[in-house]
Symmetry: C2
Subunit: 258 residues, 2 copies
Amino acid sequence: MPRYRLTVEYDGGPYCGFQAQAEQPTVQAALERAIEAFCGERIRVHAAGRTDTGVHASAQVIHFDTDVIRPKNAWVRGPNACLDPAIRVLWSHEVPDDFHARYSALSRSYRYLLLDDPVAPAILRGRVGWFHMRLDVDRMREACAALVGEHDFSAFRGAECQARSPIRTLSEARVERQSNLVAFTFRANAFLHHMIRNIVGSLVYVGADREEPAWIAELMASRDRRKAAPTFAASGLYLAGVEYDPELRLPAFRETSP
Amino acid sequence: MPRYRLTVEYDGGPYCGFQAQAEQPTVQAALERAIEAFCGERIRVHAAGRTDTGVHASAQVIHFDTDVIRPKNAWVRGPNACLDPAIRVLWSHEVPDDFHARYSALSRSYRYLLLDDPVAPAILRGRVGWFHMRLDVDRMREACAALVGEHDFSAFRGAECQARSPIRTLSEARVERQSNLVAFTFRANAFLHHMIRNIVGSLVYVGADREEPAWIAELMASRDRRKAAPTFAASGLYLAGVEYDPELRLPAFRETSP
């Protein structure tokens, strides 16, 4: 049975996360409904990352199996014709049947966009996080160094996290400013529940001069969630890419994706 | 009676334009309600530009008169505490009583943001216009030259336009690309109804190779609206600035504004 991989962009605002739940609007349910409407067959989608309520994706990756034969590009246009406008299929590709959107992923990249300005965003509300004063990017960058590598991330692990181990390998932790938007980029083999929003919360304490850059390393060493800052808002978080073996040919993401 | 000038950002999506209309949600009504709730007095706001349904503003300018005395910064925080989250006051300033947001304005700047990509925007839906194929920015830039200066803009005038004269002076018409977003900037003493969205529609015909760059000059000379392209979507249009006599001290706009 052919297996298709789709790259999907969505505004997470209207959804209770990716994963299907009875009676709740979810990205998975919307995608399955649209693909089924297009191909006339029951299908089940599997995603690289199960984003939380309100979290966006500029490049989520899903796969599904179907016996329905359609021209290649139809797997973009067909589902899009049936989908909510908050979700768009960007790209489709047939993949070998041992490809799995989640289990074949080598790493995931997330971005967190934060407006640091005295006034909350109106035009970008729901699309960025917000902090009411200018943050010091250099201090946050210095603090980020402690995050990179294989570490126990218990200090940034959400209470509902179901992962067996709190050990994760962060291969990238970057902070950049573009005028009054601060963009955080994190890449890891996998992330714990709320891990990025918890890290961003604590980095904001450092950027706002409330804690020293070395505090992040101390938090990590303590493995104590209660010592870290509160979880930052979902509205600024984007699943921005999923990396697979280069031989599986990466999709061409939108260039303007967050 | 003191007169205050506020700079206001809004997402025009939820509103039937700026100007108050009975039984319709408008930006003016929302602002008057919030300022009245804060100062406990009936006030009337006047705006530099009466944006249409769905049109945004990153820097609309309004003024109002009040006898209520409040600390200077309170005219930002107070109304914001009462306002819809789709509208934010960015800045306030007391102005001489002969200042008028509309009549003192020397010029207005608008930006039009357009995603040119095979797939419609999900995350930026309602915030940008969309065209399904890549546009040639150089061709559109060449076409823009014909727009600059004092001209009869009848070819780009909306049917409901109530202006006495179709003559306007365009001091700037610019097209830039940032990856797959095309940004058009127009500055003029004033604009006719739907003028920018009509110009953008015709420039898109040029950028898509459907018309030659010289066609824009021909349209202008014809003064015939029926020859031009259809009006482009409101979702990509932003009132991005209002210019006054420099002695009146310009507000500091958000740097990241579209």
